[in-house]
């Protein structure tokens, strides 16, 4: 085990965890309807991790292509969820074309471009394209919704890829960094869910999500921080204390990322963002926390470790 890199160890750990979870779901007697739902959800988890590990193990451009494709699906789901204007058809094409450009910058390690392309260049280009079409009715709403969509679905997801281009003095296992970001975000969700189920009493934001409690949030925060304190130094270039601080940040960011997508869905009057992931809902239902944690995780590590 000690000869294996952190990335391989984490991969094996995930497979072990999935096997155990699958065994539990198949072994324990649940109510038929619940069992069906759990099995479906578990099956999708297997597909998600097969896709993710495949993308990480394959030669480098694969990860960029796979994440770019995820970004495309997420943006498409987002645009299918919100009201759009017929006049903006060509503006939406520009938004889609921003994906290959952004992922090209992220893949080639052009940090200066990857970090400004969507917040600066697309911020200017989208209104330019809209103005040349000339529809003023609903202009601000359409523009801001589209730009927020690019930030969440393209900019944030490309940060996962950008992790692979960071340079550290004493650390080179970038795939471990990426996998750890994704796994810790998902585990934080699970920790929050379990703590909420066990101890949940006081609702934290009942208007956005009636199921979220203070106990769930704090439980997730504590457990995720403990995880980061012990495992973080192995998977990232950070020491124990910085890793603990990152754990706290990831737990908070994940919580609010999750709730932002919940608020968006509530605003649109839908339960799920789509049906791409059977048992989970849409892609955004799964990416929700990651949209915020990827940004926080990347910039924390870039600032403190490079």
């Amino acid at each position: 085990m000690t000869n294996l890199s952190a990335f391989h160890q984490l991969s094996i750990l995930i497979l072990g965890f999935l096997l155990v979870a699958t065994g539990i779901i198949w072994g324990v007697k649940f109510a038929p309807k619940q069992a069906e739902e759990l099995k479906l959800r578990m099956k999708t988890w297997w597909y998600i991790f097969a896709f993710l590990l495949g993308a990480l193990y394959a030669p480098p451009p694969t990860l960029a292509i796979c994440l770019g494709f995820v970004s495309f699906l997420a943006l498409k789901e987002y645009l299918s969820l919100i009201p759009t204007r017929r006049a903006d058809r060509r503006v939406l094409i520009w938004a889609y074309l921003a994906i290959p450009v952004q992922f090209w910058f992220a893949h080639t390690g052009e940090y200066g471009l990857a970090i400004v392309f969507i917040p600066v260049w697309m911020f200017v280009l989208l209104p330019v394209r809209m103005i040349t079409i000339g529809e003023t009715q609903g202009f601000l709403k359409a523009l801001s919704e589209l730009h927020w969509g690019l930030m969440i679905n393209v900019f944030a997801i490309s940060h996962i890829l950008m992790l692979s281009r960071l340079e550290f003095p004493n650390f080179s296992d970038h795939r471990a960094l990426i996998l750890f970001l994704i796994v810790s975000t998902e585990i934080n969700d699970v920790f929050q869910y379990i703590s909420g189920k066990l101890f949940g009493k006081h609702k934290i934001v009942p208007k956005v999500s009636p199921n979220k409690t203070w106990e769930g949030f704090l439980g997730g925060l504590i457990l995720t921080s403990i995880l980061f304190y012990f495992v973080g130094p192995h998977m990232t270039p950070l020491d124990h204390n910085y890793s603990l601080a990152l754990g706290l940040s990831v737990a908070v960011a994940g919580f609010f990322g999750d709730l932002s997508i919940s608020a968006l869905k509530r605003d649109m009057g839908v339960k799920d963002s789509g049906n791409l992931l059977p048992g989970h809902g849409g892609l955004l239902d799964r990416l929700d926390s990651l949209c915020f944690t990827s940004l926080i995780f990347f910039h924390f590590i870039r600032y403190f470790a490079t």
Binding site: K76, S80, P83, T84, R89, R90, Y96, M268
Partner: protein, 214 residues
């Protein structure tokens, strides 16, 4: 040969377009016909409607599925007609009746496809109309049902394809599209589908979330 061309075209063009660029959200796939003869009736908003409906069927069965298309466009010259017939599996109908022709004459190719046991995709509204708005159901569907009173008819409601590729705009913008498959209708005696279909499409439309688009 035609079968092979059809398959290749479906694999390299139609399927990637409908399943990856567009992306389908399918409701009640178990209601699809397993074998012909059967009629698929769908609302019509876009050139993408036909490829999307084709992609609901497995590649092994694709040669048993054909779609009705306007003769004056899809069969306007010999090369186009060859392509439409063999590569796209289209069945021609005339949009306008010549003097002395009956509606039955116009639909002759649909009848022969059904009699050959095929699954036929039919748009009872005729032309594509305004994107994301439904048009009047024409009389053609009643004529077919009168001739075959026990033919299984599968109503399918499509949403989003008018957003993806509306009439008169060649640019394709990706959106997920909803495909809601209704319950099979197979007793048409004493009934007029041209009247009932509006309500059926209305009820299928209620099953999906439909963000504003104007």
């Amino acid at each position: 040969m035609g079968y092979l061309l059809r398959l290749i075209f479906e694999i390299i063009f139609f399927r990637p377009l409908t399943l990856i660029v567009v992306g389908l959200r399918l409701r009640h796939p178990e209601r699809l016909p397993k074998k012909g003869p059967a009629l698929i009736v769908a609302n019509h908003n876009s050139h993408m409607d036909t490829p999307v409906l084709f992609s609901l069927f497995s590649l092994g069965r694709i040669h048993r599925v054909c779609a009705v298309a306007a003769e004056d466009y899809w069969f306007s010259n010999p090369i186009m007609a060859m392509f439409s017939k063999h590569v796209m599996n289209l069945v021609s109908v005339k949009r306008k009746r010549a003097p002395g022709e009956s509606v039955e004459d116009i639909l002759a190719n649909v009848f022969s496809a059904l009699e050959a046991g095929k699954i036929v995709i039919f748009f009872p509204e005729g032309s594509r109309g305004e994107p994301e708005r439904r048009s009047e159901i024409k009389a053609g569907i009643d004529i077919i049902c009168k001739k075959y009173p026990t033919l299984p008819v599968h109503p399918i409601f499509l949403h989003g394809l008018g957003k993806i590729m509306p009439r008169g705009d060649p640019v394709l913008v990706p959106f997920f599209c909803d495909v809601v498959i209704g319950e099979t209708l197979n007793d048409h005696a004493q009934k007029s589908l041209s009247k009932d279909l509006k309500e059926i499409f209305d009820s299928l439309e209620k099953e999906i979330d439909r963000p504003e688009w104007h």
